[in-house]
């Protein structure tokens, strides 16, 4: 087994037993990046020298964290002081944040080493990472397929063994869907559990930072690092610190799982459906109770998501004006020209599309018909989940209705791309925690994932349920083949 194939908890164990050194870990990952990045294209910025420098400092210092010296990859919409944060946009091509995001403060306090900034859909808008201004990231299982998105660079880099784990962000499925497409574990925590300070805002009431890891135990480990109240984010929850690794009990006896029938109807791929049915069987075998339930919001939730997310985006992205930071047009005579031309030249097509949709639904005459209604549907979605959680501990769905698709196949059909988020967006609308866990490969050897949804702040419950499934199955024997 190569070092880059190991999970972080395996690395820690080998370090403890003195079978490997921290230098060897760093070298193994940096070599792997040099070998695979040309095929996968997961990074916007590789910080090879900075990482070595940072590693040296950690080694010379007296950081006693067990994670000191462990590498990590960071999605390029999380602000990193001194390293470019581009959001995969021409608008921020040269932006260097003057401060670190709160999650970076926490990562740095542990002495972890940043290997680079990972590719994404521009401003996290998209589900395929094809909307990056810089490059199209490839799926390590098949280089002709998308890695999913918007955290596609993070998912692909973890799957390819170029980073041991990564941070991403999830507004409507942007961690869970790429995790599912790339055969890894993706966790979106409860809204408010992880500080959003320093995460470039897309839709502030939905955005949440989370983890992309090789297995569930690593998710718990990394969540331990990034969770916690932060004064700099007024939506951050004042919760007491928990050790999520303690929740991993490899036991689901008595756990009540609801499976909403609405996510298994029309539109779901047969192989995905069969794979999820096996997951359900496995949970029954392990002693959980699994019942069909109803979450009758699927259709409304997706429409609501696109109304709310675009409305918030149109407002959040108003800050990009070519004055204080970001791209400024060369073509201007007055202030208005700077605003309009900088934005028109700096934003890509999908970002403009969403700003237009968001501006439209907020404009006078349409506000009541769309935005106000969507806010009411939001209440409906929350109520529907709450009703189900009276009866069930977790809710199980597919993460995506199909496996990763071919690069280029949906790029001209925005609505079809949006429909791919059907299973993941309700979770963001209700602010719940969700985790995607790999559960099989289809006939073309592309990964399939399932999603577990928990009550607010019940990360422990879904992590344990995911862990128990993982410990009693063997998806991990499958390795991405970098097929051409």
């Amino acid at each position: 087994m190569e070092i880059y194939e190991l999970t972080v908890h395996e690395l820690l164990e080998k370090l403890y037993k003195k079978e490997i050194t921290k230098e060897e870990i760093l070298t193994s990952y940096q070599n792997r990046i040099n070998e695979k990045e040309k095929d996968v294209q997961a990074f916007v910025t590789i910080t090879e020298e900075e990482a070595k420098e940072q590693f040296k400092k950690v080694q010379e210092g007296n950081n006693t964290s067990k994670l000191a010296g462990i590498p990590i990859g960071i999605k390029d919409n999380i602000c990193t002081k001194g390293i470019k944060t581009t959001c995969a946009s021409k608008m921020l091509e040269n932006f260097v944040s003057p401060y670190d995001a709160t999650v970076m403060d926490k990562i740095n306090a542990e002495g972890m080493v940043t290997l680079g900034k990972l590719n994404m859909d521009e401003f996290a808008m998209g589900g395929s990472t094809e909307h990056s201004y810089f490059k199209k990231t490839k799926n390590p299982w098949n280089l002709n397929k998308v890695p999913g998105g918007s955290s596609g660079g993070s998912a692909a880099a973890v799957a390819a063994g170029m980073v041991p784990w990564a941070l991403g962000s999830d507004t409507g499925g942007s961690i869970r869907q790429p995790a599912s497409f790339c055969g890894i574990v993706g966790l979106k925590p409860t809204y408010g559990l992880v500080s959003r300070f320093g995460l470039v805002a897309f839709a502030s009431s939905l955005d949440q930072i989370g983890t992309l890891t090789k297995d569930v135990e690593d998710s718990a480990l990394l969540l331990n690092v990034i969770a916690g109240h932060d004064e700099k984010d007024s939506t951050s929850a004042a919760k007491e610190k928990e050790d999520y690794t303690k929740a991993l009990k490899n036991d689901v006896k008595g756990l009540k799982i609801g499976v909403p029938k609405e996510y298994f109807g029309e539109g779901i791929n047969e192989e995905v459906k069969a794979s999820i049915e096996k997951v359900i069987e496995k949970y029954r075998e392990l002693g959980a109770t699994v019942e069909e339930c109803s979450l009758d919001v699927a259709d409304y939730a997706l429409a609501t998501y696109y109304i709310i997310a675009c409305a918030e985006a149109s407002s959040n992205l108003g800050r990009f004006d070519g004055i204080r930071y970001g791209y400024r047009t060369k073509n201007y005579e007055n202030l208005k020209d700077i605003y309009r031309n900088s934005r028109s030249e700096g934003f890509g097509a999908e970002v403009k599309r969403r700003i237009i949709l968001g501006t439209y639904v907020l404009s006078s005459g349409y506000y009541d018909a769309y935005y106000k209604k969507a806010q009411q549907v939001r209440t409906l979605v929350k109520n529907e989940f709450a009703r189900n959680f009276e009866k069930y501990d977790v809710i199980l769905t597919p993460t995506a209705s199909n496996v990763a698709f071919d690069i280029g196949s949906k790029i001209n059909d925005p609505l079809e791309m949006y429909l791919a988020d059907l299973c993941t967006v309700p979770v963001n609308i209700a602010g719940l925690p969700g985790i995607s866990v790999p559960c099989g490969l289809n006939s073309e050897k592309m990964p399939i994932g399932f999603q577990l949804i928990g009550k607010p702040f019940a990360e422990s419950t879904i992590l344990n349920a995911a862990y128990t499934y993982e410990q009693n199955t063997d998806f991990k024997k499958n390795k991405p083949e970098f097929k051409n």
């Binding site: 009431s205 204080r324 028109s344």
Partner: protein, 95 residues
């Protein structure tokens, strides 16, 4: 849902975006298609439901009233496309 050319140009103006002729047509089509889809919110059983602005019920969140060192002017100006004497520079706005 029909979206007219005038409407899309008005929206683009509100959003501070210029649209090329071909973009106008593409976005018009996409907007119509997405709005038709989004119309299902009008069929949702939402009679009498309150609007949610988010999931967090916290209200008026305050920080402790303490003086902290903020970012320095130079750090904040490092990303400015144009600056002069410690200030962001823009074209003349008053004639």
């Amino acid at each position: 849902m029909q979206v007219s050319k005038e409407e899309i140009l008005h929206i683009a103006k509100l959003a501070n975006l210029n649209l090329k002729e071909e973009e106008v047509n593409t976005y018009m089509g996409h907007l119509e298609e997405i709005l038709n889809f989004a119309n299902v919110v009008n069929e949702a059983p939402i009679e009498g439901l309150e609007e949610s602005i988010g999931v967090n019920e916290a209200y008026n969140v305050f920080r402790r009233d303490e003086i902290v060192q903020g970012l320095q002017r130079e750090e904040l100006l490092q990303n400015a496309p144009d600056s002069q004497e410690g200030m962001f520079k823009i074209p003349k706005v008053i004639n």
